[in-house]
């Protein structure tokens, strides 16, 4: 039997037409950026993106190729810096956040309620108001202009901890008990039994975390002082001046910073969305 509120075919077509228009609108800025990367930067500074820019004609890859050679290939340095931060920060963050989430999910212990409330407290304070004292702390720790300076303050994220905890709670305690009977240490139970069971949670958090640190801007802008330490967003932002001949690099660099993440999104779309919804609503 057809469900009572299954919409008719005609409504479906109308809805689809509506969304096709909306989606084209949402994708238009990205399309225009990609086409702009085939145009000379000096035209873009003067006129912006024009109707002519948007017609795919006379496309040349020369600006894209120049991207890797201008200023001694500084773009590749930024790209590498961003990669290092994404990978190291994520690995550490997944390890620590899953450990804490596991600890809060499996054990009953004194102070557990306190820790859970402190985590809520952390989420109630926008990190933007802590940038000044964190900056001073980094100076004291001699960590300005370093990778660890960017990574350390944000490795442990309450959001990720809640996500892992939620996941652990859903796993039957029998697995933990079986490990104890087999004589595994508590750490062994976590690494040998639980961590493999938590693979989907690791996947979701890895992708969300990578997206966040790849696009992270404010904190790296404050920490990184020299051009060879910039991340991609910070480096690109320095090119946003009407002076100098940097627009070629800015536009093709923006495209090259965006395409990889879109490709990764399409490969792992399911995890992205699982990470957002589960972590968000139940967090």
């Amino acid at each position: 039997m057809r469900s009572l509120h299954t919409t008719t075919l005609r409504t479906q077509i109308l809805i689809s037409a509506f969304f096709i228009v909306i989606c084209l609108g949402f994708l238009f800025p990205i399309y225009s950026l990609i086409l702009a990367s085939f145009r000379p930067g000096r035209d873009l500074i003067r006129f912006g993106i024009t109707a002519k820019t948007l017609v795919p004609k006379d496309l040349t890859l020369s600006f894209l190729i120049n991207l890797f050679t201008t200023k001694n290939g500084i773009y590749l340095v930024w790209f590498r810096n961003s990669m290092i931060i994404v990978i190291v920060q994520n690995v550490l963050s997944l390890l620590f956040c899953s450990m804490v989430g596991y600890g809060l999910g499996v054990y009953e212990f004194k102070g557990k309620k306190l820790i859970l409330s402190l985590m809520l407290l952390v989420m109630m304070v926008p990190l933007q108001i802590l940038i000044l004292p964190l900056y001073r702390l980094l100076i004291t720790m001699k960590s300005m202009n370093t990778f660890q300076g960017i990574m350390f303050p944000f490795i442990v994220s309450p959001f990720a901890i809640f996500f892992f905890r939620q996941y652990v709670i859903a796993v039957p305690m029998d697995f933990v008990d079986a490990g104890r009977i087999d004589g595994l240490s508590e750490g062994g139970i976590y690494f040998r039994i639980m961590a493999p069971l938590m693979a989907p949670a690791f996947g979701a958090m890895a992708i969300l975390g990578a997206l966040q640190s790849w696009n992270n801007f404010l904190w790296p802008l404050i920490v990184m002082r020299t051009g060879d330490m910039f991340t991609l967003p910070v480096g690109l932002a320095t090119l946003l001046t009407p002076y100098g001949n940097n627009y070629d690099m800015l536009i093709s660099g923006s495209v090259m910073a965006t395409i990889p993440i879109i490709i990764i999104f399409f490969i792992f779309q399911r995890y992205f969305i699982a990470g957002l919804t589960t972590g968000g609503i139940k967090g």
């Binding site: 509120h5 054990y107 212990f109 508590e186 923006s254």
Partner: protein
């Protein structure tokens, strides 16, 4: 039974240790020190206590502009980014549309674009020349070409809210879709049997049951809205919104950046931050109250 360091009574504490260390070093310590800093004049070598002077210094028109901009931005983004994603989510949630996943994915893509890249695109689309695409599309409608970025504060807000709408609609759709999927289908079927119209179902079934999701999205939007800075930093060329003429794009975090980092007045910057914190907490509590979040019977 084998015993190691990781076992027994101490195991739970070892597991949560990373959080405790990170909380103390990168959260509690900075929070306490920013409170202290807000009562200090901080000059290298001769930092001293100045009482409420930093707070009194903030009774100035630039601070009012920053608060007003952050407030307007927050209210406007919520006004746009709640109803539109709900509508889209309801339409995408109707069963039997094979394209629904494709649409969801397409609307989500702008979220993947970094704020630097998004700002660059907006600047190029809204460039001041007559030939720039937005100006040239508006010309036939009788709207003269204008320089969007150096215009008045309504134009600045339009660009900022437009950019937020473009980047965050997809995320909010995902939140509302997952909220919708928790609503039992039987409720709709019952409503249909009773002859309820589509509007009645939307306002009497869908919206009330989406309330927890609406509260959640509103709360994160309040935090995100008041903390906004990067967007205006990019649109107005790295001058923390202070580079925008008449501070049209200046937000509270922008003012922290301008005073604390560019002006070296760390004490004053801390005071701005604490006022921001108080405003955010007050607005969220007010908002949760309006939704009846604290009522016992919920």
């Amino acid at each position: 039974m084998r015993r190691s360091i990781g076992s027994g009574r101490f195991a739970p504490y070892l597991f949560v240790l990373p959080f405790i260390v990170s909380f103390l070093a990168f959260y509690l310590y900075p929070l306490v020190s920013t409170v202290i800093m807000s009562f200090q004049e901080i000059i290298p070598g001769q930092t001293h206590f100045i009482g409420l002077l930093n707070y009194r210094r903030l009774l100035n028109p630039v601070m009012y502009t920053a608060i007003w901009n952050s407030f307007r931005y927050t209210v406007l983004t919520i006004a746009v980014l709640i109803p539109i994603p709900i509508l889209f989510a309801v339409l995408l949630n109707s069963p039997g549309n094979p394209l629904s996943t494709v649409f969801r994915g397409a609307l989500f893509i702008p979220t993947l674009v970094s704020v630097v890249v998004a700002g660059t695109i907006i600047r190029l689309l809204f460039a001041g020349s007559q030939l720039a695409i937005v100006n040239s599309l508006l010309l036939p409608l009788g709207i003269k070409a204008k320089d969007w970025l150096v215009g008045n504060s309504a134009q600045a807000m339009l660009l900022l809210v437009g950019m937020a709408t473009w980047r965050w609609t997809g995320v909010n759709i995902i939140y509302f879709l997952s909220g919708l999927q928790n609503i039992p289908r039987e409720l709709y079927e019952a409503a249909s049997i009773d002859g309820a119209s589509a509007w009645y179902r939307l306002f009497r079934v869908t919206l009330p049951l989406l309330k927890p999701t609406i509260i959640f999205v509103t709360t994160i939007s309040v935090f995100g809205g008041f903390a906004m800075f990067e967007e205006s930093y990019i649109l107005w060329s790295g001058n923390s919104g202070g580079g925008s003429p008449n501070n049209v794009g200046l937000t509270m975090v922008g003012y922290i950046y301008m005073k604390g980092f560019q002006g070296g007045a760390m004490g004053l910057g801390s005071a701005i931050g604490l006022i921001l914190l108080l405003i955010v907490l007050a607005v969220s509590i007010l908002q949760l109250n309006l939704f009846g979040f604290f009522k016992r019977d919920e």
